[in-house]
């Protein structure tokens, strides 16, 4: 099993933590992982992208150039998604912000209104976790069984109050697929 995911959005959307959380959970599930982020040189705003791979064998190139799955968090990430998605891959679109879907008829396009769902749960900033739930559901590559444990080690104890909201986001994302 190897799942190569390309994640694209803009700075501030939590693309980086999405990718990190994904591989962290994958690692806990005994998988090999690589995570390689790419930002613009601007400090604020600008693009945010990540090549993310989980696999049960040694991973060759950490760079995702043909993605089994693509996450599109913003409208301006659509072109890169169209380009990078492997034939028959899956494209998860944050339909809250992306109005025109990627033109890839061969791909499975899943629309998740991440911002709306996140706002409903209580904070638009967990839109990325909604998407992670959707990714897990759509690909099955990472089960996210250890998500709660990961969050506990990730957040300082003072912030453990945020954990339920994150779990809810993932669950909601799962359901949205």
């Amino acid at each position: 099993m190897i799942e190569k995911t390309y994640m694209a959005g803009f700075g501030g959307q939590g693309i980086i933590s999405l990718g990190q959380m994904w591989v962290y959970c994958a690692m806990k599930e005994g998988l090999q992982v690589t995570f390689f982020p790419a930002y613009g040189a601007e400090k604020r705003g600008g693009i945010a992208r990540a090549s993310v791979i989980v696999s049960d064998a040694e991973i060759a190139s950490p760079l995702v150039t043909k993605a089994h799955s693509v996450i599109v968090m913003s409208q301006d990430s659509v072109p890169i998604a169209e380009e990078i998605c492997a034939p028959g891959g899956v494209i998860l679109v944050n339909s809250s912000l992306v109005k025109a879907d990627p033109a890839r008829p061969d791909a499975r396009i899943i629309r998740v209104p991440c911002n709306e769902i996140a706002e409903r749960i209580g904070d638009v900033r967990i839109a990325n976790m909604v998407m992670m739930g959707a990714l897990s559901q759509a690909t099955g590559a990472v089960k996210l069984d250890h998500f709660e444990a990961v969050l506990k080690s990730f957040f300082p104890p003072a912030k453990h109050g945020l954990i339920p909201m994150n779990l809810a986001a993932v669950a909601a994302g799962r359901k949205a697929v």
Partner: protein, 257 residues
């Protein structure tokens, strides 16, 4: 409807890559205004340093040279020597560390370009490391418990104007800030005085400008400006630190515009 305050000609009317609330923007604007007022747009050269203001050449609408990190005073020295009738602006954030030797010796030689030293107490572009001007106790990624001069041997914040004031070649050293309209106007006056002195060939001139870096200070722009006022200005006194320009002309330049 009469235009009261509008975009200077020497600055391109485009969106910058600087963060919201970043101090560089105002400094760019007032430099451009002074150049417009002096009518020197096509006789100006700016050296944009390595730092967030690496982007300066995208914004200033005149010639530019991009030297190595810290070495802008060396490059500016040569540019001004080659083109003594040009206005050469050495725009810098990094002069008190890797550029220490270069700025001290350019100052000591009395090189006739003008340095605009943007002191935001941090390394902005590289993501918030300690700068030579980081305040005692201030957090930086390389001073994770705050700058500690004694126990951790991190050194004291360097007062660049005061350090340079001891050197024979320095003629005009001033420190402004971009925290509020009054200080911005004063800073602009310092810059104008410096640039006019440069064009008269008087000697080394430098204007240090205290500026906020909301991103790496991890504050909102408004909080950042407040922090600058409460912490930086008390430590880095504003005003003309050294002014040994020819008296007559100084007076003229000092007149309100």
């Amino acid at each position: 409807m009469e235009l009261a305050f509008g975009h200077p000609k020497s600055l391109k009317p485009i969106q910058t890559k600087y963060c919201p609330g970043c101090g560089h923007g105002v400094i760019h604007r007032i430099i451009a205004e002074v150049i417009d007022e002096m009518g020197l747009q096509t006789k100006s050269i700016i050296t944009n340093p390595v730092g967030c203001s690496i982007w300066a050449d995208l914004y200033f609408d005149f010639d530019s040279v991009q030297p190595a990190h810290g070495r802008t005073p060396a490059a500016s020295t040569a540019i001004k020597r080659m083109l003594p009738d040009h206005l050469v602006i050495c725009y810098q954030g990094d002069l008190a560390a890797i550029g220490t030797a270069e700025i001290i010796h350019a100052a000591n030689r009395g090189e006739k370009f003008t340095t605009i030293f943007v002191n935001n107490a941090i390394y902005g572009m590289t993501g918030g490391q300690m700068a030579p001007t980081t305040l005692v106790g201030q957090y930086a990624t390389t001073a994770p418990n705050g700058r500690d001069p004694v126990e951790a041997g991190m050194g004291y914040p360097i007062k660049v104007c005061e350090l340079l004031a001891t050197l024979g070649g320095t003629k005009y050293l001033a420190r402004g800030a971009v925290n509020n309209p009054a200080n911005i106007k004063k800073t602009k006056k310092y810059i104008r005085t410096a640039l006019e002195a440069q064009m008269r060939g008087e000697g080394f001139t430098l204007v240090e400008v205290l500026a906020q870096c909301p991103t790496n200070w991890k504050m909102s722009p408004a909080d950042a400006v407040g922090w600058l006022e409460q912490n930086m200005i008390p430590f880095y006194p504003l005003g003309e630190i050294k002014n040994t320009l020819q008296p007559a002309q100084t007076d003229a330049a000092a007149g309100e515009r």
